[in-house]
């Protein structure tokens, strides 16, 4: 690099003023964007995990194939990287307490259902008083318990919605043996767990029974292998098939967030061009002097470009650093905000592990770099019209 270009660029960068505010502004624009990306990605992934581990599994196989699949799973387990395969019987019911009603999905599961992976997603508060009656136990969510105004040990009535329309509705009484909390009220409100044998009594239709398969955490991308290995593509479904609206909302939200972030980045990139233009305007006298003492227009443009682009990159790095710092501490921040009583946070999952969307961050950075590169260069074309004669016409 030409020594004068380096010196002049450095002088401009270290001069407090427009370039400093450009750096701060880019950092302040990027930091919340990165933070928003981390928040949305982490939360979506967290919610997805809740649905997968507590509601639908990675893959569900129709109960009609129960016998053949059950025998296969044992053999194929290692090869397919299957973590667990659990028989589940489910159906819908209306739950009545003395004061309120709630519509819930009843999941009949065995004791082994709540394995290590699932227990990472849920906490149980159990009734330690042994039952003295033949009334079956149920686990309901904290959200449902709150809605129905019931506690551990209380009894609630279930109005089973039959799987066969010809059957009559019949109420059954169950005792609340456990109250669970997954951290995501929207899902918790719908779920309740009972013993699978009892569930089979309530929902006798074979279609109510499925096998929920969990893939080992490091082999998520091999779900398709699992599906194809069973050769039952039409009778296998994923969590996204069962929760189409949730899944599509995630996809749309993610796309919208990315589009909005990209638009903000485009505006920020064009802002750098306007800073470059303003810098040239402020430096007309210096540019004319430098050309007078023998600098070509190319050197002038190069120096101005390096000044603004360096500041843009520095602002970008600062913004990313700041965004990552805040983003990685979102858990404690959200918990703190929640403790202050922000009601809107109840709609979100507050307990999730942080996922850093490196690809999206890289796309945003690349966009900022490319657009600002082009727009700054274009805005600096006007240095050509600044000639040394400007010094004498303006004096």
């Amino acid at each position: 690099m030409n020594p004068f270009v380096r010196l002049w660029s450095l002088k401009r960068i270290t001069r407090r003023g427009r370039l400093t505010s450009c750096l701060i502004l880019i950092a302040l624009v990027l930091a919340p964007l990165i933070c928003a990306l981390i928040f949305s990605d982490s939360m979506m992934e967290g919610i997805t995990s809740k649905y997968i581990y507590l509601s639908d599994g990675h893959v569900q196989i129709n109960g009609e194939h129960l016998t053949s699949i059950s025998s296969m799973i044992g053999e194929e387990n290692e090869k397919l990287m299957i973590y667990s395969a659990d028989e589940v019987t489910s159906g819908y019911a209306l739950m009545y307490s003395a004061t309120n009603t709630s519509s819930v999905m009843i999941k009949g599961v065995s004791d082994s259902y709540f394995n290590e992976l699932r227990m990472q997603q849920i906490t149980f508060e159990r009734n330690t008083t042994p039952s003295t009656s033949s009334i079956k136990g149920i686990a309901i969510s904290r959200a449902t318990a709150k809605k129905l105004e019931v506690e551990l040990g209380d009894r609630v009535a279930l109005m089973i919605v039959p799987d066969d329309v010809n059957k009559v509705l019949r109420p059954v009484l169950v005792r609340i043996d456990a109250i669970f909390y997954s951290g995501y009220d929207q899902l918790d409100e719908l779920l309740s767990f009972i013993d699978i044998d009892y569930a089979k009594e309530l929902y006798s239709d074979i279609s109510s029974t499925t096998i929920e398969i969990l893939v080992k955490p490091d082999y998520m991308e091999r779900i398709n292998d699992v599906i194809y290995a069973f050769g039952l593509e039409h009778d296998i479904s994923r969590w996204s098939d069962h929760n189409v609206s949730v899944y599509e909302n995630f996809v749309t939200s993610r796309q919208m967030i990315m589009i909005i972030l990209m638009l903000v980045v485009v505006v920020a990139a064009f802002y750098t061009a306007s800073v470059a233009q303003q810098m040239v305007q402020d430096d007309i006298q210096d540019i004319a002097i430098v050309k007078l003492i023998g600098s070509s227009n190319a050197l002038v443009r190069k120096s101005a470009f390096i000044s603004v682009y360096t500041v843009t990159l520095a602002g970008m790095i600062l913004g990313i650093g700041l965004g990552l710092l805040i983003g990685c501490n979102l858990g404690p921040i959200l918990t703190w905000l929640s403790s202050l009583g922000f009601q809107s946070l109840t709609f979100y999952l507050l307990d999730f592990s942080i996922t850093i969307p490196w690809l999206s961050i890289a796309i945003i950075c690349a966009m900022l770099m490319v657009i600002s590169f082009i727009s700054i260069r274009i805005s600096l074309i006007r240095t050509k019209v600044i000639t040394p004669m400007r010094l004498f016409t303006s004096l």
Binding site: N2, K11, D286, V290, I293, G294, P388, L391, F392
Partner: protein, 228 residues
């Protein structure tokens, strides 16, 4: 080959934006700036002295005629080569010192050398030497805002000499200085011609200063007349 040679230079300015009328400032002027000699151009205000100097330095272009710098026609060069020619062969000194406000005195002096691609380590010694020679050794790290008018003009002279140009073009270099400083700058410039064998093209109102030069021309009625 003369450091600068003006051949049949005519300069006209448009009197309105639409270009309906024109006024002739310089008409068919020939001038040779001789090597190792000082040349002064005197004339009334508005006679076109500064315009002639700007054309001689390749800062402005003539309406007709050509300017040769070391035998090369300025108009035949692109921006890069014209700038390089100006950078290496011509030093400018003006009434307003035209220093870079963010640069220290030392950096201002080094600027032409840095522009030409020399590293700081290669040109710092000469810049320091020049500043010392002009009595600015304790002002090297000062920015122009902290210097007096005379000091700024001396920094501008150092900068003009930095690349050891063959010719110095000076437009009223003492115009903004008090008597004492003006006398100092006059002596300095004339000594440069004598001691270092450089050429000086001086434009001034100051008749005393002008007649200390080897050649004196009067710019009158758009033409040059040799007075000395």
């Amino acid at each position: 080959m003369h450091p600068i040679e003006l051949i049949s230079i005519t300069k006209r300015f448009k009197t309105s934006e639409k270009g309906e009328g024109e006024i002739t400032i310089l008409n068919n002027i020939d001038l040779q700036v001789l090597s190792g000699q000082s040349t002064a151009i005197i004339g009334k205000s508005g006679s076109g002295k500064s315009t002639l100097l700007h054309i001689a330095g390749g800062l402005d272009s003539p309406s007709e005629g050509k300017v040769l710098c070391k035998g090369t026609d300025f108009s035949s060069l692109d921006d890069k080569h014209r700038s390089a020619l100006r950078n290496l062969h011509i030093g400018f000194i003006f009434q307003a010192n035209l220093l870079l406000e963010d640069f220290t005195a030392l950096e201002n002096v080094m600027a032409p050398a840095l522009i030409s691609g020399k590293k700081e380590s290669e040109c710092k010694d000469r810049a320091v030497q020049l500043l010392k020679k002009l009595g600015l050794e304790d002002r090297m790290s000062h920015v122009p805002g902290k210097l007096s008018g005379g000091e700024k003009q001396r920094v501008a002279i150092c900068r003009a000499l930095m690349n050891e140009p063959e010719v110095i073009l000076a437009d009223e270099p003492t115009g903004a200085l008090d008597e004492e400083n003006a006398a100092e700058v006059e002596e300095l410039l004339l000594n440069l011609v004598k001691e270092e064998g450089r050429s000086l093209l001086l434009v001034t109102h100051n008749q005393d200063f002008a007649y200390k030069c080897d050649n004196v021309y009067l710019l009158k009625n758009h033409g040059l007349t040799k007075e000395k």
